[in-house]
């Protein structure tokens, strides 16, 4: 099964973001969308999540999907603790006790157990983003959308968060669409990397990475990185 977007059109004022745009995304993989700022990556995610309507076009296979979203900012409720923030999004069909257990499990997976009862104002930027990653995974979704969630963080935190992310994703293998303008992030996380052009968007090229554990300095990855840089220019 795959997720397909066909003949998508979307414009804002005079800018055509998408003009007969097509993409096919494999399920249960991490699809990275790599493109310059302002090319419409966030709009694409918003159309997938349903918070933005396309001018025309078909989104196939998305209808039945429940979605969780990791935003650029953590978007936590200031008056809720780490655990309460995770519990907040869980559907009411889940019992109170079970919600609590789910929240405990995911906060442990992102190594925040010691901070379960902290309010966001007492957490660092990286910790807050870890809560938002835990929140997205704890939500029973089929698809996780990520909109440059690492943008505001320094390199060490980035690597740390990607490790948390991988640890959550590995046993779970949910479909993920990860949007970024940073090649290194794409290389560290993505299974498939789609390189987007400027608006109106075209897919310049698609790269696939097979190996699971990757280190930025490995020769293979460096080679790939150089190829992607070429394509992006």
């Amino acid at each position: 099964m795959s997720l397909i977007i066909k003949n998508l059109y979307k414009s804002f004022q005079d800018i055509n973001l998408f003009q007969d745009f097509n993409i096919e995304i494999q399920e249960h993989t991490i699809a990275c969308i790599l493109g310059p700022s302002g090319c419409g990556k966030t709009s694409l995610l918003n159309m997938i999540s349903g918070s933005l309507q396309p001018d025309s076009g078909d989104l196939l296979g998305f209808n039945s999907k429940t979605i969780s979203y990791i935003f650029q900012e953590p978007r936590l409720l200031p008056w809720k603790t780490v655990l309460e923030n995770i519990v907040y999004v869980l559907p009411d069909s889940i019992s109170k006790k079970e919600k609590h257990e789910i929240a405990l499990r995911y906060s442990e997976l992102v190594e925040l157990t010691d901070f379960n009862n902290y309010y966001p104002s007492k957490l660092s930027g990286g910790m807050k983003q870890r809560v938002s990653i835990a929140r997205a995974f704890s939500y029973p979704s089929d698809l996780i959308l990520m909109d440059e969630p690492l943008k505001a963080l320094d390199l060490k935190l980035k690597l740390n968060l990607m490790k948390s992310f991988r640890r959550l994703w590995q046993p779970d293998k949910r479909s993920v669409i990860f949007v970024t303008h940073d090649i290194d992030e794409a290389l560290l996380i993505g299974n498939d990397i789609y390189v987007f052009s400027k608006a109106p968007v075209l897919i310049k090229e698609k790269f696939s990475i097979k190996n699971k554990d990757r280190l930025l300095p490995s020769p293979e990855i460096i080679q790939l990185k150089n190829r992607i840089v070429d394509v992006m220019e």
Partner: protein
């Protein structure tokens, strides 16, 4: 001195001490209990009032009027504020009303209230009208301060409307309600007492102030003033205490 809290406390204490000494000096210069009584005689008059007959009844009546006015303006202010904060049309409707109430001189309201209402109701009505715009405006601002991004996040994760109101909107406006309530009461107590001075209900700080002024008992006028300030301060403290107990996430 290393302790910063102690340092600020000491500075405030010095400020009060300075005020009292200026008062003392002025009273020595005037040398007339009729025009400006000394601080000691005023404090003595205050203590005398505290143990006087009917004291509890008098301040009780004033506090009661203030609290009824406050409760009315709180209920109406919060509910209309939520409506106006979430509905642009209703805000456009409410805004001119709020502005008119706020810019009307209190004395005009009192003069009209004296004609329209029974004596006991005048101060309540005035208190209500002074406090209502504060609470209402604050609630509107609070609703507008709600983070749109959090609402979007909630919608994507299919959080229900009722849950969003209860767990996002209400906590978000809580600090605004408290700051609205605190400034409202600050003005409210003054309004109640002005109302009482002019409407002369049987019991009330304003009534007694007016009587003391008629008999030129200046120390008693100031003594009632001190009591009014203390009441206002006490309620400010109570509001801050409740706020601290509820708004624990800051």
């Amino acid at each position: 001195m290393k302790n910063p809290i102690l340092k600020t406390r000491l500075t405030s204490f010095i400020s009060i001490l300075l005020l009292l000494s200026l008062w003392k000096i002025a009273s020595i210069i005037y040398n007339s209990e009729l025009i400006l009584p000394s601080p000691e005689s005023t404090i003595f008059a205050t203590l005398k009032l505290l143990i006087s007959e009917n004291f509890i009844q008098i301040i009780g009546a004033t506090i009661f009027r203030g609290l009824i006015g406050f409760t009315l303006s709180f209920i109406l202010g919060v509910s209309l504020g939520i409506l106006a904060g979430t509905n642009i049309l209703f805000e456009a409707f409410l805004k001119p009303i709020l502005i008119s109430i706020r810019s009307t001189p209190i004395i005009s309201l009192i003069l009209l209230a004296l004609i329209w209402f029974k004596v006991d109701l005048v101060a309540v009505f005035i208190a209500f009208l002074t406090m209502f715009p504060f609470i209402c405006t604050n609630v509107i601002d609070g609703i507008k301060s709600v983070d749109k991004d959090i609402i979007e996040m909630s919608r994507v994760h299919q959080v229900g409307k009722f849950k969003i109101i209860k767990e996002v909107f209400l906590p978000a406006i809580t600090p605004f309600i408290f700051s609205g309530a605190s400034s409202a009461l600050g003005f409210g107590w003054r309004a109640v007492i002005i109302g009482e001075v002019l409407s002369q209900p049987k019991f009330g700080i304003g009534t007694l102030m007016q009587t003391a002024q008629t008999y030129l008992l200046v120390n008693e006028v100031i003594a009632w003033t001190i009591i009014a300030v203390l009441i206002s301060y006490l309620f400010e403290l109570i509001i801050r205490k409740i706020e601290k107990a509820i708004v624990i996430w800051k």
